[in-house]
């Protein structure tokens, strides 16, 4: 029953929201009073994160993603197409395998719907389904819904600057606000010093135990932007398991109609 949940906020931003990796830039002004060890460090951190954020930020996006899931019990590969518009609307539709083709998830604001072509039903996500795995991956439905609050919930600060494993990097530590509805104790993220491309993100719980790691690699030019095309999520407590996402294509700032993100559209095959 206790399916381990791995809120993969960053990933979801990439996958679904399409814009604002942490959304910090857009919301920084909203939380000026947030406590911080040093105003200067904070400002720098925000500035860099804003930059990273801009990597994915767009009015709209469309892409094709390949997801590979490896667990102790199965290995599976799926291809899916995704669209996003603004911060809050996104749609994912499975292309293959054939068995699950046209299964689609629509997220608007804090609501998520899943369309099941086999039974021709649309199911609205309720709190009881939150912890179910999303499409058999290491993400739960909860991960998909929660991401947009990230911006309001964490304070960034630069915790390391320098050379690590032969590369110049900047390491951020994100600490949640005392009142933020997040379970993590902290998130530590490293980006390259040049270009500020994400490398690795680690998630710790309140007891400072590592829960999972996300690796970013294979930087490619996609849709006119230089981005890591491969993300690998590794849960700490399940050795040998991972979920891998590969961007096959990604385009930005398309003219997507509002109606694409409707329940009606969700059911279209």
């Amino acid at each position: 029953m206790n399916r381990v949940s791995l809120p993969a906020c960053i990933l979801l931003v990439l996958l679904l929201a399409g814009g604002g990796i942490f959304g910090l830039a857009g919301n920084a002004a909203a939380v000026p009073s947030a406590p911080s060890p040093s105003p200067l460090a904070e400002q720098e951190a925000r500035a860099i994160l804003l930059e990273i954020d801009d990597l994915w930020r767009a009015a709209s996006s469309q892409g094709m993603v390949r997801m590979q899931v490896k667990t102790a019990n199965y290995t599976r590969t799926m291809r899916m197409e995704m669209w996003s518009k603004g911060k809050d609307k996104s749609l994912v539709r499975i292309v293959s395998p054939l068995k699950e083709k046209d299964t689609a998830s629509l997220k608007t604001d804090n609501t998520m719907y899943t369309y099941l072509p086999k039974t021709d039903r649309t199911i609205r996500l309720t709190s009881s389904m939150m912890m179910s795995s999303w499409m058999g991956s290491h993400f739960t439905n909860d991960d998909l819904v929660k991401e947009s609050r990230l911006a309001e919930d964490y304070d960034p600060r630069i915790s390391f600057k320098g050379k690590r494993e032969g590369r110049e990097i900047i390491e951020f530590t994100l600490l949640p606000h005392p009142d933020a509805a997040v379970v993590w104790g902290r998130i530590v993220m490293s980006v390259t010093a040049q270009g500020h491309l994400p490398l690795i993100a680690t998630y710790y719980d309140e007891d400072n135990v590592l829960a999972r790691t996300i690796y970013f690699s294979e930087v490619k030019n996609m849709g006119g932007r230089l981005l890591p095309a491969l993300l690998k999520v590794v849960p700490t407590d399940k050795p040998g398991e991972y979920t891998e996402l590969v961007y096959e294509s990604l385009r930005f700032d398309l003219d997507l109609p509002e109606s694409l993100f409707s329940l009606l559209e969700l059911r279209r095959r």
Binding site: T119, R121, I123, R124, S128, S133, G136
Partner: protein, 407 residues
Amino acid sequence: MQIVFFALRNFNRARTRTWITVGAMAFACAIMIFYASLLEGWLAGMEKNAVGMELGEFQVHAHGFRADPDLYKRIGGEEEVLALLGREGFIAAPRLYASGLAAAGNASSGIELRGVDLAREPRVTALNEHVWQGQWLAQEDRSGVVLGRKLARILGLGVGDEVVVVAQAADGSTANELFRVRGILKSVAEGVDRSGFLMTSAAFRTMMIVPQGAQQIVVKRQQATEDLNQATIRLARLLPNHEVRNWRQLQPVLARLFEMSDVSLVIMLLITYVAVGILTLNALLMSVFERIPEFGVMKALGFSPGGLFAMIVMESMLQVTVAVCLAVAVGLPLSFYFSSHPIDFSGFVQSSSTIAGVALDAKWYCVVTMNSVVLPVLFLYLVAGLAILYPALKAAMLKPLDAIYHR
């Protein structure tokens, strides 16, 4: 021999008095037989609901399933296991489990999917006879499901309605299937009532992509007389690589409750028999004291105190025996009648309820067991034996002259 002769003659002499005494004892005994049968029936009903519907006598799991159940902790090669159990004097049925979500209309609820082996399950449990509305599963109706009672209410489902199930199949894909409600169960146990979603094992395997293996094997002894603990040990030896538990281990609270009920039957019998004892004592006292002049005459004629004592005891035992025969003749048919015609309290009790998670039946059956007949009879002899001691001793100790002119 002479004493028996006397006792027999006396029995027939003061007819009204004797029959009143016998009648009172017989009545009490018959009531107790009936009551004991009813209590046995209640216990049997509880046990049937708990053990015979859901738990089974034993459950076999793969290691770790009970602590943290999931789709993958299966007993592999379950057919071989079942065959082995069959050879060793056990009856067994496999069950498949998965968790999922059922949705109907706007309502949705988490469910426990269960794949039922239609051929084998009825041999270990009576779940198939416990349908409240609609029908039990059928092999040919692959899209038919049977739901727990509360689950049906939560989802607002009736027989014939459609329900969608979403779950994660064994291969990680999203299993989703449209089912039609074929039946709704009566109250079984809290868990089943609230989330039980039963389908044929074939439908389960197809949907969940579980071609072989089973999460649970429910086992029953072929000989119900075999000791539960012995059988558990035997079973555990047969299946060293699996977790074997009997129902008492699975539901210790319930096991304790049943033990308590056994004790409470004896307490109830004791209490009721104190009442019966008082009345028997009274009846015997009356019949002895009334006849004290007569005993005086007998003593005057040379009856020894011991002989008189023996005669009085013999007489009362004869009365008890007649009472017992009467009680059995009345109580047994009464109990048997109520074993086929349950007392239905569902009119008084609107909702079925649970004790320690096991459904209570609003219908009470009698179950006639050795205990329910022998215990009341033995108690009657015991109580009457104790009750007669005082008057019999008193009569035996009397001086003949005092006795003759008694009162």
